[in-house]
Amino acid sequence: MKTKPLKKREKEPFFERHLGPILITPSTLVIFGILFIPIFYALYMSLNRISFRGADTIYKFAGLQNFINLFTTDPWFKSSFLVTLLFVMLTVATEIVIGVAASLVLNKKFHGRGFVRGLMILPWAMPTVVNAVMWKWIFNAEYGAANGLLLKLGLIKTSIAWLGTPRMAFFCVFLANVWKETPYVILLAIAALSTIPEDLYEAASIDGAGGWKAFWRITLPMIKPVLLILLITKTIWAFQTFDLVAIMTSGGPQNATNLLSYYIHFVAFKQTDFGSAAAMSYVLSMICFALSFVYIKVFMNKDENDEKKIKKHLKKKLAGAHEG
């Protein structure tokens, strides 16, 4: 009796029996083509010394030498790595803090809220290149808007070379990134906030948690999953920041804004050292991967522990019931 349905299934036409695999094959091929081939090819490149002679590319197996060189002989990798780390930490922290704060305000009911919410999205909706060019103009030492405004207000007496000094240039790139990326945090945080039922706050106010206490004990835990996603994606994106520095500072001055992505590009296409660039790409990818892993572990752990406890408890109960 049990074999009957199987037989019937075998009689189904080939197309129907294999509909699933057939449908996913094209997209799998595309993903394979644009993702896996480059990944493996980059791995191959990172393990080789690559040089060019005329139109020929010469691969010479080098083992892990490219990776070792990054940490020993490469003059700028370490500084670029540190600058990137600082940039990522500062931008992600600032974006999330400002983003959550702004979303709390925008979650309140007030006249023209929809308009303001729409307005907030603008910087994020703008292409990064446009954003970068805009900030480059704003911070132009001679005819930039920042200098113009500050001079007119009398806050400064002489023009500042915003992108001319290392610290200032780093700050300007940081500012441009925060300006562009914060709206995304706001967008997701508002979405998360709007799912918190109002009566939770009412219950909390009766329980004795108003204002800050309610924020720490109700709001923050409730939007935690969204914040986790934001933290992961923002970190990865911040590590990948390229266009901003490419347009605003070209990594300068004195490598102050020489973010890894830009440096990789520089090593690959200006120094034509594809082996080292591929090695760096791998290091960068591993960092992103490791960070996501840590975030997920740290944030999800507590919940998982709770679930485990419940399961354990249920098992105990069931066992008890059976014995009884």
Binding site: P197, D199, L200, E202, A203, A204, S205, I206, D207, G208, A209, G210, K213, R217, I218, P221, M222, K224, D306, K309, I310, H313, K317
Partner: protein, 369 residues
């Protein structure tokens, strides 16, 4: 423990002309179980939320005990509230949900533990303490919500339609449980519901509210026996009281209420002769509860008969609700389940005229005793 006084309470929401609650006066005694009942949008929840401090009071004063609490923060009012959707904190375990308010008050851990476990024991949710709300059924969540309110040992319990999200069977058992809880805790309970059955079965007293105005405050039995106006008459009791437009007429042995060919005698114990004389020839609304309309035979005086075609006979097992039209007026009769009445039949019903009510057509106020 505490009494609650609401004095001339008015609530007007911004941008509205009609107040949600108007000049409401209510005196709730210590340890009383009072029910605020009314149709949705009548302002009963608003009253409760004003007592809780979740809504600002436009005008008037609220006292808990001797203390004026208009400006007191919700957490300092010594109240606890159970919400319609329970409002449990989803990210906290049952234990933490219940311990939350005590923790905020910096109660010692040991004391918190004792209180939470004691409340959990009373509500029979000890085995659920480690679970998160999403892993609980509706009834269990309800218990946790009650437990969260209990641990604080408040002097006033506010319950906002706490049973409306439960299925019918669970609702009946939780109803009894909340009543028992009230007896056990000996605290003032203010309970909001739109369900007249809950109101009738649970409360010491019921305040019937309509359009932000209290229509009548009384014990359940008195509300049923002596509704002060048409609204209360129609709202309390299930199935609803039959309300029929009639005229008071002089009959051979006193007065009767007449509509079409039908005449229902008005005995002296329902309306005195003097009142009847006042209303003679005037329109009144006759109120007859379905339980006092029975199959002919038991009350076979001829002039107290209502005849009509049966539209629908709903059998409930022990009893049967018979929907029929008498003189074009839709009526319901509650007859024993064994009754042979079927839909489509033309049936004569006898009215127990000692149990009828009469209301002034214009003011809606009762004119019967």
């Amino acid at each position: 423990m505490a009494s609650i006084q609401l004095k001339h309470i008015t609530k007007r929401y911004p941008g509205t002309t009609v107040p949600a609650v108007e000049d409401l006066n209510l005196s709730i005694e210590d340890k009383e179980f009072i029910i605020l009942v009314g149709p949705s949008g009548c302002g009963k929840s608003t009253v409760l939320r004003m007592i809780a401090g979740l809504e600002e009071i436009t005008d008037g004063e609220i006292f808990i005990g001797d203390r004026l609490i208009n400006e007191v923060a919700p957490k300092d009012r010594d109240i606890a509230m159970v919400f319609q959707n329970y409002a449990l904190y989803p990210h906290m375990t049952v234990y933490k949900n219940m311990a939350f308010s005590l923790k905020l008050r910096k109660t010692p851990k040991k004391e918190i533990d004792e209180k939470v476990r004691a409340a959990a024991k009373i509500l029979d949710i000890e085995s659920l303490l480690d679970r998160k709300p999403r892993a609980l059924s509706g009834g269990q969540r309800q218990r946790v919500a009650l437990g969260r309110a209990m641990v604080r040992n408040p002097s006033v319990f506010l319950l906002d339609e706490p049973l409306s999200n439960l299925d019918a069977k669970l609702r009946t058992s939780m109803r009894a449980e909340i009543t028992r809880l009230h007896e056990r805790l000996g605290t003032t309970f203010v309970y909001v519901t739109h369900d007249q059955t809950e109101a009738m079965t649970m409360g010491d007293r019921i305040a019937v509210i309509k359009d932000g105005v209290i229509q009548q405050i009384d014990t359940p039995q008195n509300l049923y026996d002596h509704p002060q106006n048409l609204f209360v008459g129609g709202f309390i009791g299930s199935p609803q009281m039959n309300l029929i437009d009639a005229t008071v007429e002089k009959a051979a042995d006193g007065y009767c209420a007449a509509f079409g060919e039908t005449k229902i005698g008005i005995p002296e114990q329902v309306m005195s002769a003097a009142v009847c004389a006042d209303y003679e020839g005037k329109p009144v609304v006759l109120g007859i509860r379905p339980e006092f309309i029975s199959e002919t035979g038991s009350h076979s005086e001829e002039h107290n008969l209502m005849t009509g075609d049966v539209d629908l006979a709903e059998s409930m097992g022990a009893e049967k609700f018979v929907y029929f039209a008498c003189e074009g007026c839709p009526c319901i009769a509650k007859v024993p389940g064994s009754s042979p009445i079927q839909s489509g039949e033309s049936v004569s019903f006898a009215v127990d005229c000692t149990m009828i009510h009469a209301f002034d057509k214009e003011t809606g106020l009762t004119i019967s005793k």
